[in-house]
């Protein structure tokens, strides 16, 4: 009744091929943007920013990046944690070496540096496939974490081996460091997420995205119909690395402020982001958002219910979280391999006919 396409005519090609061709979807998208940019910053408080919204925004960027690689191009990567670390350490080095340049550029350049590193580790993908490649990306994960732990140049020879984000401002407002306001943290992440979402959405439905999908579905067949596997695979690695680097830079500079590499960017982080895109939906930008929201909310919810509500031990709640996450992964892979995004699509189909199903 509310969600319908009747009377919604596209009269030009651009109108037909826009991102949200249905008017209702388009207005919903604008409404979400308005709420995110104009309402939430005014009502946000520290708890919501630090526990839910900022991690959600940052993980959503990482999930979009990984989804391009795994969901669209079919190259499984278990090195996300290490690649985020590249973004974080690149951002730290840039922030401390060029203190006068705006942090916005630092974050973008860290994305670029990460893209270069990820492309380097993506080179074996031309020879090896599937889980062979997945294990090869594990090499990146362990090597990078070791590198940032052992080579003192990366953490400016600080005694603790940690890196700490210095205070930096955007338009006169503090965005990093311990005295940052909740809304400023939220806004800078939101800006980057919006940018990442729009870029990813438009890349994946353009010619590059079609090439990636062709490689994912069968790379030999794709090669025969004229897709260059070298450029398609490496571009997926590079663009994925760019977004993951941005999220790593934000994760360090805006969210945590101080980072010890093994703790913040260990193998668990790689799995966390991978789970986000499996649960959210492989090959879907919306799925990256949904998965990130789900995986950020689940522990908070469990903690509030079990520890806060029932008075359980935190260790027990943590174990139960593992059980639930593992079970959910399996259930999603069996019941709905396309994840929350597919459930959303099905719901929309149902809504189009509702309340007259025939």
């Amino acid at each position: 009744m509310f969600y319908r396409e009747s009377g919604d005519f596209s009269e030009t090609y651009p109108a037909d091929s826009q991102t949200f061709p249905i008017k209702f979807d388009r207005y919903r998208y604008y409404a979400v943007l308005v709420v995110a940019f104009l309402i939430i910053p005014f009502i946000i408080n520290d708890y919501w920013a630090n526990a839910i919204l900022v991690p959600f925004l940052i993980y959503a960027i990482a999930a979009i990046g990984l989804n391009i690689l795994v969901g669209y191009c079919g190259q499984v990567s278990l090195g996300t944690g290490g690649f985020m670390a590249v973004g974080a350490y690149a951002c730290y080095k840039l922030m401390t070496t060029f203190p006068d340049v705006s942090i916005m550029f630092h974050i973008l350049i860290s994305g670029g540096i990460t893209a270069a590193v990820v492309t380097l580790f993506g080179l074996p993908s031309l020879r090896i496939k599937g889980f062979y490649l997945a294990v090869a990306t594990l090499a990146a994960q362990f090597f990078l974490v070791w590198l940032f732990n052992r080579v003192a140049w990366f953490y400016n020879y600080s005694a603790s081996g940690q890196i700490n984000a210095p205070d930096r401002t955007v338009f006169g407002h503090l965005v990093t460091g311990p005295n940052t306001d909740a809304w400023a943290k939220y806004m800078i992440c939101l800006v980057f997420l919006t940018f990442a979402g729009i870029v990813a959405r438009n890349l994946t439905r353009g010619s590059l995205g079609r090439k990636w999908s062709a490689i994912r579905d069968m790379d030999i067949a794709a090669e025969i119909i004229g897709v260059n596997p070298l450029s398609a695979k490496l571009s997926a690695f590079a663009i994925s690395g760019f977004f993951i680097g941005i999220s790593g830079a934000l994760f360090f500079s805006v969210y945590l402020g101080a980072v010890e590499v093994g703790e913040a960017f260990g193998i668990q982080k790689s799995f966390l982001v991978l789970f986000m895109i499996i649960i959210g939906g492989l090959g879907s930008v919306f799925g990256s958002f949904a998965g990130a929201a789900f995986m950020v909310l689940l522990p908070v919810l469990l903690k509030n219910v079990l520890v806060g509500g029932l008075g359980w031990d935190t260790a027990l709640a943590a174990h139960l979280e593992f059980v639930i996450v593992g079970a959910l992964i399996i259930i999603f892979l069996i019941a709905e391999p396309h994840g929350l995004a597919q459930l959303w699509r099905v719901a929309k189909e149902k809504l189009r006919l509702w309340p007259f199903p025939h």
Binding site: V135, F143, W146, F271, D313, H319, F322, I329
Partner: protein
């Protein structure tokens, strides 16, 4: 000076060989499952952890889910107060592993037949998470001591017998008895597995399934039975690996990380080859210890063992994607 350094190098190499045997033990479980069902079982290491946890739990008479029960009902139970002998406990754990294999087959992989390998791989990651949480909930997550009577400590006999080789700074090779036992157990296990696969009816059926699912099905082999069998075998191998690692460094979470070490072992040896798993294990074990000794510790700041195996596998794969002993990968459109 030089001969001592050389002898130390030999000692490092020997220790690497022993570590390699343990890696090979974990890798063996991977190969078994991969050959028979095409599933790359990431949960192998967690199975080792789960087996070892259950073994300790049964031996000490811990109440399963004690923590959960106490939290829900407000009781205070933790131990039954009995001690089960090691041999009996191992038998019980084997029963648990068979049950686990049946559950895995019945609740997970039966529903995923015909899916892409990478989906199956991700399902095993989910399984690994599930079992990790489940094992911790069942037996709690403290570091436990596992003692089933395997001798431990350096072998004085070998030390004394070899001390004449070097000068005054050299006291003979230090080799842990536990590692010698582990190597012997691994060798026996491999012989038993190979004999099982070659000479028994079930073993032949297992190899048939590994060759071609449909052909095996058409001559009347029950796929689901073979898969349960294979998962049980992998469970036993995991249990043995869990016991050895658990006796060495305590039963704790990091046990499940050895599974990750087994991955480069497999990539070196090839996913489909049992000898490959063993040779790969030895190469990785010796390689990472020697690299740490010769290059890592003096020049790179140490702890290179974390990544050396992966890098070795990565470089190796670029030149030979199917591994040392793997079947040639043929792709068709």
């Amino acid at each position: 000076m030089f001969p001592d350094q050389f002898l130390f190098g030999v000692e490092v190499m020997l220790n690497g060989l022993m570590a390699g045997v343990l890696y090979a033990l974990v890798a063996l479980g991977f190969v078994l499952i991969f050959k028979a069902s095409g599933i790359f079982n990431y949960a192998q290491g967690v199975m080792a952890l789960f087996g070892a946890l259950t073994l300790v739990g049964i031996m000490d008479g811990q109440v399963p889910f004690a923590h959960l029960i106490n939290s829900v009902f407000g009781t205070d139970v933790h131990h039954f107060g009995w001690h089960v002998p090691a041999f009996l406990s191992i038998l019980l754990v084997m029963v648990v592993m068979v049950g686990l294999a049946w559950c895995v087959q019945h609740f997970i992989f039966r529903h995923l037949v015909g899916q892409e390998p990478i989906i199956l791989f991700m399902a095993t990651i989910g399984l690994a998470y599930f079992m990790e949480g489940f094992g911790d909930m069942m037996w709690n997550s403290e570091i436990k001591k596992l003692d089933i009577g395997i001798p431990q400590g350096g072998s004085m006999w070998i030390e004394e017998a070899t001390s004449f080789l070097g000068g005054t700074n050299f006291y003979g090779f230090f080799i842990d008895k536990l590692e010698i036992v582990a190597s012997l157990v691994a060798i026996v296990l491999v012989i038993v597995l190979v004999a099982f696969a070659q000479y028994t009816k079930q073993g032949r059926a297992m190899r048939a399934v590994a060759d071609d699912h449909q052909a095996a099905l058409s001559v009347g082999i029950s796929l689901s039975f073979i898969w349960v069998l294979v998962w049980s075998l992998a469970g036993f191998v995991a249990l043995v690996a869990g016991i050895m690692w658990g006796a060495k460094s305590g039963v704790q979470f990091s046990l499940s990380l050895i599974a990750l070490k087994a991955l480069p072992v497999l990539m070196l040896g090839g996913f489909t080859s049992i000898p490959g798993a063993i040779v790969g294990g030895l190469i990785v074990g010796v390689g990472e210890k020697l690299f740490e000794f010769l290059i890592g510790a003096p020049f790179l700041g140490g702890a290179t063992e974390n990544w050396f195996a992966y890098m070795l596998a990565l470089v190796f794969l670029v030149f030979r994607p199917q591994g040392l002993f793997g079947e040639k990968i043929i792709e068709r459109v």
